[in-house]
């Protein structure tokens, strides 16, 4: 067995790491650095004290913005002793709380911990004791959330980052819900050793998820529109530099010439100036703010600086800008280096073109703001037979079109258009039920498998059996 590509002590929070802050169901990706203020859920603090602790540790934000590891045992203190049988005698007159806003502010200013404030609120509520036990729980939970400033620092992962993006910035990832991303990774048979083609405009989240699943084994060719791939989310994963050695990128605008055999290096945009020039091109999404565009990574290292121009994203992703990257790309700026980088970039581009030209990729993943049909029809050319492909779209209609066009063209089987439906539950003694709000839209997927298309242009490439009638075939599962 080969050694794991992970560093020796993965459990410890170190300076230069990428980490995710978590409070209840809210996440924020940050780079771990000393003496830098972070805003998260209206709280200011520094991460200095977190360094050296283990991932998964929960901290309390104290006055002054320092983090203090929280001991689990303190928790159960806020207990209820007495409860009413029902709420028939409760008349809501807005006067049930004797503590005023000023009182509470005074407590806070004194540095009283949130937990203590909640306890005082309970003691000063005239109706708390008459509330049902359940209503008491609800009250405490609500107040705790308001007054206890507690955060947990966790290691980034596809699970964490896809949940974070869907919850806070779904427009940046084309509303790709995390369970839909999970389906893509599985149906795409993404695994170590594959040669994958990825076309995404999901801020690099889909790319990151694929890289995580491939663990540095195999190769990935990322197709990108405009001046360079966007990898703001990819950088949040904190992958080791080795993961980027077999990550290639290739401009979408050269796909046709590559397919037609007229591809030549001379026409390629190598100047970094072009990146800004084409930035406008990326802003074609429909009901979304412009996506962030960053520099194309000029080296296949982790120098994935997220030049984010939107305050909204800034609030959530405290990714270091240039020069802060944790890998060994500190040296830059000299013309010698620039030249060297251009050479390297050119070399890698040729490699990418060569990889594509072999037409033996092990899978294709598409998740972009573009109409998927032209992407799919072209990029499937680079995939070997008997390999899965997965196309995501926020809307169903474009995938119906893909389905129709692919059936006409042939060379693919087992086409399946689907959507998943995700429901979260509250499981508590005597109070279990599905969560009251749920996501209504996770996006749609079209999956299929490539085969050798022997009969191009002739009409007989359709399958013998009509593919349309589905369902009913799966037998009714037995009840357990």
């Amino acid at each position: 067995m080969e050694g794991s590509p992970e560093p020796a002590s993965p459990g410890v929070i170190r300076e230069g790491d990428f980490a995710v802050l978590k409070r209840d169901e809210v996440f924020k990706a940050v780079a771990v650095a000393r003496r830098r203020k972070i805003v998260f859920e209206k709280q200011w603090f520094c991460l200095d004290n977190a360094i050296g602790h283990i991932y998964g540790t929960t901290f309390e934000v104290t006055s002054g913005g320092t983090l203090q590891p929280k001991n689990r045992v303190q928790e159960a203190a806020t207990e209820t002793k007495e409860a009413g049988a029902d709420n028939r005698n409760i008349v809501d007159d807005g006067k049930s709380q004797k503590l005023t806003h000023d009182d509470i502010k005074a407590l806070k200013d004194k540095g009283i911990k949130g937990q203590e404030i909640v306890q005082q609120l309970i003691e000063n509520s005239t109706t708390f004791r008459d509330k049902t036990e359940f209503a008491q729980h609800k009250y405490i939970k609500k107040k705790k959330k308001k007054y206890e400033a507690v955060i947990t620092i966790v290691k980034p992962s596809t699970r964490i980052l896809s949940t974070m993006y869907y919850g806070r910035e779904p427009g940046k990832i084309n509303y790709l819900r995390y369970d839909t991303l999970a389906q893509m990774l599985t149906w795409g048979n993404v695994r170590a050793g594959n040669k994958m083609i990825v076309m995404e405009t999901c801020a690099g989240l889909v790319l990151g998820a694929i890289m995580e699943r491939m663990g540095g084994y195999g190769s990935i060719i990322q197709m990108y529109p405009g001046g360079g791939p966007v990898r703001a989310a990819t950088s949040c994963f904190g992958f080791p530099g080795s993961f980027f050695q077999t990550l290639y990128d290739f401009p979408l605008s050269k796909v046709d010439s590559l397919l037609s055999g007229t591809f030549s290096l001379k026409k390629l945009p190598l100047e970094s100036e072009e990146n800004t020039a084409v930035a406008e091109e990326s802003n074609g999404s429909v009901d979304d703010k412009p996506v962030s565009v960053q520099e194309a990574d000029t080296e296949c290292s982790a120098e994935i600086a997220a030049e984010d121009r939107q305050p909204e994203e800034q609030e959530i992703m405290d990714i270091p800008t240039e020069g802060d990257a944790f890998e060994d790309s500190k040296a830059k700026g000299t013309t010698h280096d620039k030249l060297k980088k251009q050479e390297e970039r050119q070399k890698k581009l040729i490699e990418a073109a060569d990889l594509l030209k072999e037409k033996n990729a092990d899978g294709l993943i598409v998740a972009s703001r573009f109409h998927p049909a032209p992407l799919l029809l072209s990029l499937l050319e680079f995939v070997a037979p008997s390999r899965p492909f997965v196309v995501y779209c926020q809307y169903k209609e474009p995938l119906v079109e893909c389905y129709t066009k692919l059936r006409e063209k042939g060379g693919v089987i087992n086409l399946k258009l689907s959507e998943t439906w995700l429901r979260n539950y509250q499981v508590l003694p005597d109070r279990s039920h599905p969560k009251l709000m749920m996501s209504g839209a996770g996006g749609y997927l079209l999956t299929g498998i490539t085969v050798i298309n022997e009969s191009v242009k002739s009409g007989d490439c359709s399958e013998q059996t009509d593919e349309e009638p589905t369902s009913k075939k799966r037998k009714l599962q037995e009840q357990r």
Binding site: S368, S378, R431
Partner: protein, 308 residues
């Protein structure tokens, strides 16, 4: 106006719905000399409302306009003052059908709550049925009586302020259907059974938590109810939108004119087929699901009072 009868014109004392725009509306009690503020300006009841046809566009003082709608139980559900959690029309629809309510039905309900379901029941059982509704919270019971009178359906409903689990519905062997929306429905099943007609009837219990359902189903079985059936209904509303997706630039213009065969002899004509899509955008109309929707209101458990 009445909640069980359409009228053509707006009259003094009517409860009308002021419709401002998509899902933005509120109820107003029409009164001679009354004034109602909206974001588009003032509505003067005497001149702007009374005598006008329901469905009219009314121009407010600032020049904006609103529509005045005849109340229905469904509009009321969207606009009523919340004194409790309420039942929405999606659940109400299923309850009404699965309890087999129709004109003439005698129905028991507890609790009355904010009266959302009550109005829908009364609408369905009018003109010959009756609703017996029990609410243990005194303020709420009184407010409900008031509203039913205002809405001119008072003769179709009897409101009782008592604890249904202890005191039942106050009628025996009269009801065609019983509806329960209380924290411990299992404690009221016996009362529900004796309220139902001797030859049988239908019962429904609404509970948010599965544990309540489990206990209620056990109690229903113990009391000899049959066809016990628990279900759940969710509404998915689609927004109709015009979607415009950009078409990707695959470099058609740059080098695609002189095309050779590609390397491995596999067909390259699909480049041409995708060229059928013009550079630019693809537009289409779509009914798109909402990002967030109500994921749970409660479980509905139905059963039939059987004969034996």
């Amino acid at each position: 106006m009445s909640f069980i009868d359409y009228r053509e014109t707006i009259k003094e004392g009517d409860t009308a719905i002021v419709f401002l725009g998509h899902e933005s509306m509120f109820p107003v009690k029409v009164q001679h000399g009354g004034k109602t503020q909206t974001k588009y300006g003032v509505i003067r009841h005497s001149t702007d409302l009374i005598g006008k046809r329901y469905g009219s566009k009314v121009t407010c003082s600032k020049g904006g306009w609103v529509y005045i709608l005849h109340p229905t139980p469904e509009l009321w559900t969207l606009n009523l003052p919340h004194r409790t959690q309420i039942l929405y029309s999606t659940d109400i629809s299923l309850i009404t059908m699965m309890l087999e309510l129709k004109p003439g039905s005698v129905v028991c309900e507890s609790g009355t709550g904010s009266g959302s379901l009550s109005h829908a029941i009364i609408r369905t059982i009018a003109p010959t049925g009756h609703l017996y509704t029990v609410e243990f919270h005194q303020q709420r019971a009184e407010k409900a009586i008031e509203e039913f009178e205002e809405h001119k359906v008072g003769h179709l409903v009897t409101v009782k302020n008592q604890d249904v689990c202890k005191n039942g519905f106050g009628i025996t062997h009269l009801a065609d259907a019983v509806f329960l929306d209380i924290p411990s429905p299992w404690e009221a099943i016996g009362h529900a059974k004796s309220a139902l007609k001797r030859e049988g009837g239908r019962i429904c219990s609404f509970s948010p938590c599965i544990e309540q359902v489990q206990r209620t189903c056990l109690a229903l079985e113990e009391h000899g109810f049959a066809e016990c059936n628990t279900l759940e209904i969710l509404l998915r509303v689609y927004n109709v939108r015009t979607i415009s997706l950009p078409l990707p630039d695959l470099g058609k213009g740059t080098g695609g004119n002189a095309r050779g065969e590609s390397d491995q002899g596999s067909p390259s004509d699909q480049g041409a087929s995708s060229a059928g899509l013009q550079q630019g955008n693809a537009q289409f109309k779509s009914g798109v699901p909402p990002r967030e929707m109500v994921g749970h209101t409660g479980y509905l458990t139905f059963a039939t009072k059987s004969l034996f």
